[in-house]
Symmetry: C3
Subunit: 662 residues, 3 copies
């Protein structure tokens, strides 16, 4: 992908919702705000192909020409996330089907069956038309395939494709029967056609069945992407192709497996918290996106100018800028929003936008304008590397496994567990590289493995190797418990990690919502409290770092550490509160730098002999350069002023450019 | 409609549930209680037409003759709200279908598809038979069509009828595409047959689609009513025709549009609160019913002798009487109940009745008897006009629009907002006339417009004219936001009312459940607190009446007033507590009379040179005539005693008849 | 059934989930733990008949032979609770259908339509094969038909069978129309084919329809059992046949009606509480099981080594033993578990087992081993009779009736009401015999009838006869209200029991969740408090034992007692707290023995001239023999030591064998 000369700034632009008389104002305000890139055409299928095989590209021609004339690039989307109403009537079998057998219909968005041949063909047809017409348009900066892959289906098409996928994965029906433990509850399959998606059934479903179906759906969505990508790439290999991956609790795809397919990772980030929680969630998502792409360029494709949720919630002054800059600091090639102009109608008429209903004299548009100006001053940072301090394992397959019913506890929250580890490191000023358990691990001194319920033998070996060669590993409760088919490893938890950690749990002791138990260090000081989870642990070959106080496990080990090779392997057998978890991580592997003041986020990037220190002050008081340990010869790239003696105002930001030191 | 010589008193009478030996006791006890009217036949279809085309009217003949012999009138119902079991088998396609595609079946009540030709034909057949047989029966006082219209359906029949309705409303498909903003999410229709009811779909539905479907269903129910009304009217034009409109959160029809179709408005009133809440809800419903009928005669067709809800809940002594009299005071031609005798079996076997399971020696029947006696003394009031003091806009279309998902907040409660305004006025002793935003506004000094999210241009003009000619308008938050297609008006909220109110909101700031913000008057006194909602307001041409204190809007305007023509236009940009809202209303337009003591309800009616002052004492202490400011020459029509010096006991009532003063 | 020479101890054994190499360890550990009986083959259909009509019994031959060689008996199951996947494909119509019309499919367990001919035939085929092959196998101890009957279906098959059942029950359609009060809401049936299962309908269903459908489903399941029982019995009449009845809120069958069909009652007991609640629930279930079988031998077929619920929850040390012994003390022929070895995969991979994931060196397996040893010392007790002190009526039909919607209150909890009475007696050291209201009542001095909403005339007569001949009856609120068709009895509650109790309730006064009202004895002492329920009671022919204080019923009777013949009939018109209810029961009929110390459970068994006193100390302190009033010449059968002077440790047990005294 040719590197852009500046950072991207803009959002989804849906001019088809407005009379063309409005477009001129759009261009004027985009220029005023410094917009450089807009996403076009995401939901335009029913306009571009109003009847099957009849196309109308005239209006899109005008939009792209207009953008080009105004110096604004286009991320041109294939509109396949929302087939037009005529498609439903022509191909009722291509609508998705719920587990209960309800066939959905148009009237919203994302209503398609990714396994239906008619749908896949229709997608390729419109993609070919777009590629033919626009692959060499001067406004075209990148292709944006589809939108937020994620629709599930339990249709007959899905059943057929699922069986093909299972044949590939398991080879024989006997292997599938073994992997799924179908001997339990008389579920043994004697012919492939007996295997179905996990549809409505009388009682608890089979967890391995559920897990494989999630894997299958994720792969089916990736296959759908690849087919379009191939068409677009063939039309003009110079134009990068991506899709916007969504976060969110349903975690539809496994981004680790998309790296080779995306020319740059693009993500949509909508935190569900406000305040400090939102700030952290942005940082978390940015670290994930950078890691998914193997530290190559990536892009924050969507965020909102207000908090999202079930009610309108304006951001506090400065938040739009700080949330955007945390992404840039963590490697994003820019900051994009959904959407440019707030819609009058449609289901997202209350979704915040860069240009709100009230118009350009609103506080939101003022801050958007200011952000555009700031980004314009950060072009030099675009190729700098993000300095990473610690690695954390994150695995959507584990998340899927922990979405099954009938787990050891109903409230096992995998994303919360990973987020808590990230948050503890974020507060310590450590920037996190996320790691897939199925790929080479990053070469960083600290590797944290939170709640890795599903752990393959290969992963266990890789973790051991990390420790063996001098790394520190901190694994938390439930890790190692199950194999890749979600089968519990017998002989004592944490299963695959028993030898590495030198411990063996005879029994899990989940706690109720109201229960807590104290955890005390071997030297008698309090570590903090465990909620939600504890384990009856036996130490085989490790030292006891801390023990339970009170309750049925009184005096038994809670946290252990084992010397292995040149490194150490820690086990945290309980769900610690934030402070205690932070203390464990600091003790297991001391941070390289002192932690920033509370509420202040610091991220470093380096390129050649320079580095940038991004300071995002989420706190309610100003912080001084000396508090942050900033070099005296720094220079704030955002404000163009020397950093020495400067303060970063409450809610403010700085990007201090300093010579890199050896 | 010929005026009755007395008020109506009675209830639903379902003698078919009992052996005929019980009927004699029914007659005796009805006479004892002073019953004058009973509703008959509402759920008798399967008895009257036990097989398709085979009729059995003999038992109904006996019932009507018996009633007539006992001097009791009949509101004879068409039984179409519950088709018989044979109907389901003969016409499975005439059963309603849920949004998920589940076809319902018999086994309850109200299970019909109002759009199904077979159902509509069957309804007309049984209606014709009833009309032929009973249109001139001497017991017949009125026709009671159907029961509580309200069943939704998403069937193929509904789809066809919906498309016809849309063609009528929008004319062209292009107009529909524009009104529904189908450019968003690729929903553009290229042929009418692509339009469906809002069935199950993958994600958020289109709010304009939802709103039009609710409008369509309401109209389809009205068409069903009209067809029967025409049959009945043709059989004997002298007999009035009505249906009992239900209140409740699903608000199935738009009663404003039924006025011309009902010979008298009839309503079923089942508050969901107890105590003072129930008392107010009765008053609220009565004011609505009177307003729906353009202040013509109306009737409380159903209420219960106990509180309704999910448990048996007896009323406190006196409540049956007070709840009934609030309706009479507000114009009802009587007080009717569901039902006369409590059922042994069936789904409503625990629904309270006039004659409870225990029998006639129960406290409930004693109070029923007393009520009958009191109503007998109020015949003279029946044509008196209710004195109204203030108008409040109420619009079911706005309510429907606010039942969509993805609104600015999930807890926007339109009926609660309207109810709160009514309650504040009720506490001030002001009787409310409700107004449709789509009809001429009442000529009253104060007009309150709570949360009118959907405001057409015509409505905005009518509100401006009210102010221009000297009226006071108080509009509350969200009013004016959207047009009649639920599209947000751009340029700043409150959209359609910006010029009239002289303000412009740049941003909505809904509050969380736990949040509150203080509102302080310009003179520094506290107004009260806002919950749920606040707005970032800019004053263009108005005075600031009160401002926010603290929070992100600290110091910005909260309540404004603008002089326009001879009147004033107030805007309340937040959800005030009861006390603060009452203060705003009192300040905007002072009541004509001092407020009654807390818990005491006072309503006035006038006819010729007389007037009646109804006093309903819901409080736990007696109140004296002087506290109520009652004229000394009054006479309590209920007790037959002079009013001077009298006290209205705790829980008691009076209807003081006084000469009208100029 | 030939009496076993020792108590049964073991669990479900599912060796097909494990490689045969594991089986040897199973045998070794079973012998080590003293296992005498295992349940085999419950979920093996898809292995035994991998394709329709193709059988593979080789592995089961090996399992049974192995068991036999190791001296372990087998409860051999018919695997019909989980038809194999091929069955679904071959017979889609034999899958169960929900009320919404969703046809379920395989992928869990229990997915079958008990009314489908194809399913019933397939069940008989596999049963015949098993009978033919194993009816004379030396390891075979009993047949275990199916598993936990309970799957509902609303299919066309169910509709047909339901209509046949209704013809049998009601004789004529007219009788059904009367019983179901179909005159209400136009539900009158004019032909049998109009009657359906209670499928999805628009509003509230008919309570009598619901109740008969539950009765029908329960009978359909029994018929399914009987068909298999006949096959098995014919193959070898010497081998007893049973099925494991499940407890739980859905209460699928009526065990009172199975007594003649089961050679011994077998039950699965999974309390939903922990601690004292779990201890009591085990005692409750054991008393029920013994009573269902008419005090003949019965068996605890399943329990768990940990608490069940939605999270793993280990039992406290000693609980596995105490929970098992409460069953033996109350007559169980042993103590069985689900399951022997914890599964690796499948939906119940986290269900606790005798041999946990961690292996044999776990605390759980230690206690299992100890339990096996203790049971080995109790062989002599196996034929001793359990000494019963009081009777409590329990009726699943009443429970079904109280699962309908639209009852007098939404939170009427029949099982909780029965459990509360049992708990009060349990705390007083009284062992309960449960009684069916449709069978001869036990000849015990105290008979308690909690919340018997559905009371037939015959039941009312039987209760009166009990009192007449000198018994004490304590009936609690709602008893007597409805007849066997769930129709309210008119004339005043408690309907069928008015004359016997000498009271008449004019009105029910359910209380809100937060409400309480005091109840005071005639002598002025406090009885305690009523929650949830109260009644406006009029005393016709009884004495007032206690009255309400405060609230709308202030001063009115709350508890009454009436002398009738040689006995007394008490009525408790409210939901008393535990202490107050215990006081009423003690006052109505004084216990024969002083209550044991709090938390200590004492049960007596007698045989010939000996008796055993089981002491289960659930408390946290030791109790001495003298505190328990134990005879000095006793001998602890569990420990082999004299009882005199002994203490039963906190959490410990004793089974003191003493000579029986006259």
């Amino acid at each position: 992908m040719p590197a852009p000369t500046s950072l991207w700034f803009g959002g989804d632009y849906n001019p088809e919702q407005w009379p063309e008389t409005v477009w001129a104002e759009d261009m004027r305000l985009m220029r005023e705000a410094g917009v450089t890139l807009v996403t076009v055409g995401v939901f335009s299928w029913s306009l571009l192909e109003p009847e099957e095989g009849t196309y109308d590209f005239a209006w899109l021609d005008r939009v792209l020409d207009l953008l080009h004339r105004n110096g604004i690039g286009a991320a041109l989307a294939t509109p396949t996330a929302s087939p037009p109403p005529w498609f439903t009537l022509a191909h009722p079998d291509a609508m998705p089907v719920t587990a209960d057998g309800v066939r959905l219909t148009h009237g919203s968005r994302d209503t398609y069956d990714v396994c239906a041949p008619a749908y896949r063909e229709a997608c390729l047809r419109i993609t070919r038309e777009l590629a033919r017409r626009y692959a060499h348009h001067p406004a075209l900066v990148m292709w944006h395939v589809h939108n937020e892959y994620g629709t599930h289906t339990h249709s007959a098409h899905a059943a057929r494709a699922f069986r093909d996928w299972l044949r590939d994965r398991h080879g024989t029906l006997e292997a599938l029967n073994d992997a799924w433990t179908t001997a339990f509850w008389s579920q043994r399959y004697s012919a492939w056609e007996q295997v179905q998606p996990p549809r409505a059934t009388q009682y608890l479903p089979n967890p391995a069945h559920l897990l494989d179906f999630r894997r299958f759906l994720a792969d089916a969505m990736r296959a759908h992407y690849r087919a379009q990508r191939d068409v677009l790439r063939a039309a003009n290999p110079a134009v990068p192709v991506t899709t916007n991956l969504a976060f969110g609790s349903w975690v539809p795809v496994n981004p680790w497996t998309w790296d080779g397919d995306l020319d740059l990772v693009a993500v949509d980030v909508y935190p569900d918290s406000t305040g400090a929680g939102a700030a952290h969630q942005h940082a978390f998502a940015a670290d994930l996106a950078r890691s998914w792409g193997g530290r190559r360029p990536w892009l924050l494709m969507e965020q909102a100018t207000g908090h999202l949720g079930n009610r309108v919630r304006p951001k506090a002054p400065g938040e739009i800028i700080r949330h955007s800059l945390t992404h840039v600091a963590r490697g994003s090639r820019g900051a994009m929003f959904f959407q440019w102009r707030a819609s009058r109608g449609g289901a997202e008429q209350w979704h915040p936008a860069m240009l709100p209903h009230a118009g350009a004299d609103s506080p939101v548009f003022s801050e958007v304008r200011e952000l555009g100006a700031l980004l314009g001053r950060l072009a030099d940072v675009r190729d700098a590397e993000v300095v990473e301090d610690a690695a954390v394992v994150w695995d959507p397959e584990c998340w899927w496994a922990l979405q099954a019913p009938a787990l050891p506890a109903p409230d096992l929250d995998y994303p919360a567990a990973v987020r808590q580890v990230h948050r503890a490191l974020w507060r310590q000023g450590r920037t996190v590289a996320f790691a897939s358990p199925h790929a080479p691990l990053p070469d960083l001194p600290l590797l944290v493995v939170p709640m890795l319920y599903v752990t393959s033998d290969a992963t266990a070996r890789a973790l051991a190797a990390h420790v063996e060669r001098g790394g520190v590993l901190v694994a938390t409760y439930l890790s190692g418990t199950a194999d890749e088919h979600a089968r519990v490893r017998t002989g004592g938890y944490p299963g695959a990690l028993r030898d590495l950690l030198g411990v063996r749990a005879l029994q899990y002791h989940p706690l109720d919502a109201a229960e807590q138990v104290a955890v005390r260090a071997a030297d008698g000081t309090d570590y903090g409290r465990a909620r939600a989870w504890s384990e009856h642990l036996r130490v085989d070959d490790a030292r006891v770092e801390a023990s339970y106080v009170g309750g049925p496990l009184d005096g038994l080990p809670a946290i252990t550490r084992a010397d292995r090779g040149a490194g150490q392997a820690w086990y945290v057998s309980c769900d610690l509160d934030d402070a205690a978890l932070g203390a464990v991580l600091a003790r297991a592997c001391a941070p390289r730098r002192p932690a920033p003041p509370p509420g202040v986020e610091v991220v470093r990037r380096t390129a050649g002999d320079e580095s940038w220190v991004f300071v995002l002050n989420h706190a309610e008081r100003a912080v001084s350069a000396s508090e942050l340990g900033l070099a005296e010869d720094g220079h704030d790239a955002l404000r163009g002023t020397p950093a020495a003696g400067r303060r970063v105002a409450a809610g403010g930001c700085a990007a201090v450019r300093v010579p890199r030191r050896p």
